[in-house]
């Protein structure tokens, strides 16, 4: 049986959380709008004569993201029209970027390896279609609150090597977007949309496969992971039968645990891209970009390294605490306060992550540190009493001692437990541990 390896690149869309839309002054808040079609104007409705004016903040944020992901920035760029018909696209074209995206050639590190970023571009979201039955009639309704909301698209190279890698990439990217406070990435609502281009090839093969399957409309990282794993198996089956999987778009049905055909593309669509004549080309300077990026927040990966270096925080605790910007900033304050008081910062991290102390994000440092110290309050221990107990335990458990000395060091916990039980009070375990170790040598 041929062994296959995954060839996978991703396209992730995320809505930017600017105050106003991409090309008009309408409020950008499609998910909290009390009614449909209230955040609209001639521009985002595509009325005759409506003209787009680009949102500076959205451009700035896109470029900052590019810098955060190590991308090169096009100092000359422009918007293009992508022409196609769909009822959710009132102008008959989407304003996007084609040959001069703001950012290109970056890289995102994940725990499963790096993923090269091919490009990041900025475009406008479409309106939202709602298919309903009203008075027994099937109707399609259009809500333009989302029309022309700024949308970034981050495209990777086909560097993803496993379903876990795909998931890790998506999660890390979301974490960065949230840290930068430029996107909420609400997956349920469609504020962040994942697409994976999946194909497989025999291990060792260097050429890209001749086909690719687009996994689309996946609204969770878990589903993404499952869908990629499923596709690898499905495509391997087809290849083993001597078939080439067809080029198509597939979705994920979580109830059935399988992907399903959504659309088969017969030909490559021709979007007739051309530079949007309504929007003048954009020029940036290095100084301008440096100025914007001076405000770039410390990104999760950098902060993790710092925590590990400065406070010896375990990676697994750091990962949990770095998931949300708010939590991470709060943890940062706590760590600094704990270090100042010469408390064990990693133990504090452990206590928070494993909920050993009853605190919540935002609680002030004093409160948290008091709770933490109380947790580790120890009774003083009489040195002689401790030694006597240890000696007794050693004497009564010669077998265990022999095993320990023979190299079965896991048994150390047994001595700890015995001694602790006999002491009958809460003591500093480090002291106990050191004492037992000395005795056993």
């Amino acid at each position: 049986m041929t062994e296959y390896q995954l060839v996978c690149g991703m396209e992730v869309h995320a809505e930017l959380k600017t105050a106003t839309k991409m090309f008009c002054g309408c409020k950008n808040d499609p998910f909290h709008a009390p009614k449909p079609n209230i955040y609209t104007c001639p521009v985002c409705l595509g009325m005759p004569g409506g003209l787009p004016v680009a949102n500076r903040t959205a451009i700035e944020w896109t470029i900052k993201l590019g810098v955060a992901l190590g991308c090169k920035i096009n100092l000359f760029s422009h918007f293009d029209r992508k022409n196609y018909f769909y009822p959710d696209l009132p102008k008959g074209y989407q304003i996007s970027q084609y040959d001069q995206p703001f950012c290109y050639d970056g890289k995102l590190e994940t725990e499963f390896g790096p993923v090269r970023i091919r490009r990041i571009h900025l475009e406008e979201d479409t309106a939202k279609l709602l298919h309903k039955t009203i008075d027994g009639k099937k109707v399609s309704l259009i809500d333009f609150n989302r029309s022309s909301v700024p949308l970034i698209e981050i495209v990777t190279e086909p560097d993803i090597i496993s379903p876990e890698h795909a998931k890790a990439y998506g999660k890390t990217l979301r974490q960065i977007l949230r840290f930068m406070d430029i996107a909420d990435c609400d997956m349920e609502q469609g504020g962040m949309r994942l697409e994976a281009n999946v194909s497989i090839r025999p291990v060792g093969e260097k050429e890209l496969p001749v086909y690719k399957v687009e996994l689309k409309n996946i609204n969770s990282f878990r589903f993404l992971e499952k869908a990629v794993a499923y596709e690898m198996e499905r495509q391997a089956r087809e290849l083993n039968e001597g078939k080439t999987p067809i080029q198509e778009t597939r979705g994920w049905n979580d109830d059935k645990g399988e992907t399903f055909t959504q659309r088969v593309k017969e030909d490559a669509e021709d979007y007739r891209y051309f530079p949007d004549p309504d929007l003048p080309p954009l020029r940036f300077t290095e100084e301008q970009i440096n100025e914007w990026c001076a405000e770039l927040p410390e990104l999760p990966a950098v902060r993790k390294d710092r925590w590990m270096a400065d406070y010896h925080i375990d990676a697994k605790y750091a990962d949990v605490l770095l998931d949300e910007r708010e939590t991470a900033d709060w943890a940062d304050q706590l760590f600094a306060a704990a270090a100042q008081k010469q408390l064990k910062v990693n133990a504090l991290a452990n206590a928070i992550v494993n909920k050993k102390i009853a605190v919540k994000v935002g609680d002030n440092a004093d409160t948290v540190l008091t709770a933490f110290t109380a947790l580790h309050q120890t009774d003083s221990v009489d040195e002689n009493e401790l030694l006597q107990i240890i000696e007794a335990v050693i004497a009564e458990n010669a077998d265990a001692v022999a095993q320990y000395k023979a190299g079965k060091t896991q048994i150390f916990g047994f001595f700890m437990g015995q001694v602790q039980r006999r002491l009958g009070k809460k003591v500093d375990m480090q002291v106990v541990k050191n004492a037992i170790e000395r005795k056993l040598q």
């Binding site: 001639p42 521009v43 595509g46 009325m47 005759p48 004569g49 409506g50 003209l51 787009p52 004016v53 680009a54 029209r81 022409n83 018909f85 009822p87 009132p90 102008k91 008959g92 074209y93 021709d270 007739r272 891209y273 051309f274 949007d276 004549p277 309504d278 929007l279 003048p280």
Partner: protein, 461 residues
């Protein structure tokens, strides 16, 4: 008849209370009898009196203006002369009409045009062709044919048009009016039904140069709703009136184009007046305007195919079957020139040639302050002339297309009148970008020192 007054005259007489709004409206009302024959206005503003009354204290004193039907006007039907928009009543005003209203103008009505501004005859209008008031056997030109005809017929005191490549200047030439196409980006396009976004320029069509300068003052300037509108400071264009043109260097171009023979001999003697006024006049060699036809045809069709995509039948009542033949032809050609594999060959190549035109004008303007040429290669054509020629507009607009695709300002002034046909020739006066004032000075001087303007010289014609 007060409807024959110029805008400046009307404002003066209203200010001095020599005439009343009621008298003015009564005379305009009488002139509307011509509409049945000439087919100039598509929609009249039935609240004109009310709107005017409310604006009398402002600069434009509630004077009515005719507006080309591709400017969105709140509550007033806007069709761009296509039945696709037969029932479209905009919820908003174009920046131009908003500014004019704020300055005290009242919207008189909406004028006929080539459908979607595609053409130079007004014959592609889906509401029927407009006839040239100077001689109804002839066309008024286009696409702003209705606005030029409204002024020529004295059915309007002044009008607003829009030009993509000749659509203000060419109908002005054919109707014997003044038509000013500003620098691209000088006047906001917001709310104007888009034709070719990279060249669309709204501007005034008036009886005199001073009226054009006055209206330009009210519509020019940066608009935050139009990303292509310029933040360059705006002159007071009326200050350019009555200025000496002594010492100005004027280059005459496009005189060697084949087919000009008929009118060349009528046009050339008109240049003498510039020398009499102390300017230096010289014939200059410019890049062949035939190339501009190619550039414009590709760029304009490409942009049109995208700009008209929004009329997809989902909204506005009427679907795509309502597009006329000219719109369909342009959509098809533009779709083709933007298609994969062809965009490089056509659209991008056209943009490169456009750059060559820019360079050529830059070269010419190093030597000359002003360039002049004929506006149109001939007199107004007979009705029906456009129907057999898909490239009719491009050939009629050849002499103004180079300045259009390069965004230059230009103004048409009448420069010859044929007493036999009552038809006019127009002179196209062009300046470097943002130099409308110099152009206005030259046009104003020409108008005042010649007898071709029918309002300034009513007794002679």
């Amino acid at each position: 008849m007060l409807n024959t007054l110029t805008l400046t005259e009307v404002l003066g007489k209203l200010k001095r209370k020599e005439i009343s709004h009621a008298e003015l409206f009564a005379d305009l009302q009488k002139s509307y009898a011509q509409n049945e024959k000439l087919n100039i206005f598509l929609t009249m503003n039935d609240k004109l009196a009310e709107d005017s009354e409310a604006a009398t204290t402002k600069a434009l004193m509630g004077v009515p203006l005719a507006i080309k039907d591709n400017f969105c006007t709140t509550g007033l039907r806007t069709t761009a002369s296509s039945t696709v928009l037969d029932t479209f009543i905009p919820q908003y005003d174009s920046t131009v009409t908003r500014r004019l209203k704020e300055a005290g103008a009242a919207i008189q009505g909406k004028t006929n045009m080539d459908a979607w501004a595609h053409g130079s005859s007004t014959e592609t209008s889906q509401y029927g062709r407009t006839l040239n008031p100077r001689n109804p056997e002839h066309l008024p030109g286009g696409s702003s044919g209705g606005s030029a005809a409204a002024v020529a017929a004295d059915m309007a005191i002044a009008a607003i048009g829009s030009e993509t490549a000749g659509s203000i200047r060419q109908p002005s030439a054919w109707c014997g009016t003044v038509g000013l196409k500003p620098t691209y980006g000088r006047v906001s396009r917001y709310g104007v039904v888009s034709m070719a976004s990279s060249t669309d320029s709204p501007g005034p069509i008036t009886k005199t140069v001073e009226d054009a300068a006055l209206l330009l003052n009210h519509i020019a300037g940066h608009d935050p709703y139009d990303g292509t509108s310029s933040t360059n400071p705006v002159d007071d264009y009326t200050q350019a009136l009555g200025q000496s043109i002594e010492g100005l260097k004027i280059g005459v171009i496009y005189m060697d184009i084949p087919g000009l023979a008929e009118v060349k001999s009528l046009f050339e003697p008109q240049l003498k007046v510039f020398e009499e006024l102390g300017a230096h006049v010289e014939y200059a060699q410019a890049m062949d305007p035939n190339h501009a036809i190619g550039v414009y045809t590709v760029v304009q069709r490409s942009e049109v195919s995208s700009n008209l995509a929004r009329y997809d039948g989902v909204r506005y009542g009427n679907d795509r079957s309502h597009f006329g033949d000219e719109a369909k032809r342009r959509i098809m050609l533009g779709t083709y020139t933007l298609s994969k594999g062809y965009a490089d060959k056509y659209y991008l190549l056209a943009q490169k040639v456009r750059t060559l035109f820019l360079q050529d004008f830059a070269r010419l303007f190093q030597k000359y302050d002003i360039l002049v040429s004929l506006t149109s290669p001939g007199f107004a054509k007979k009705i029906g002339a456009s129907e057999s020629s898909a490239m009719f507009g491009e050939l009629e607009d050849m002499l103004v297309e180079p300045s259009s695709i390069t965004g230059l300002p230009g103004i048409n002034v009448p420069c010859y009148h044929d007493p036999k046909t009552n038809l006019y020739l127009g002179m196209n006066i062009m300046a470097p970008m943002w130099h409308e004032s110099e152009m206005i000075s030259v046009a104003d001087a020409f108008e005042k020192h010649t007898s071709w303007n029918s309002w300034r010289n009513a007794e002679k014609q």
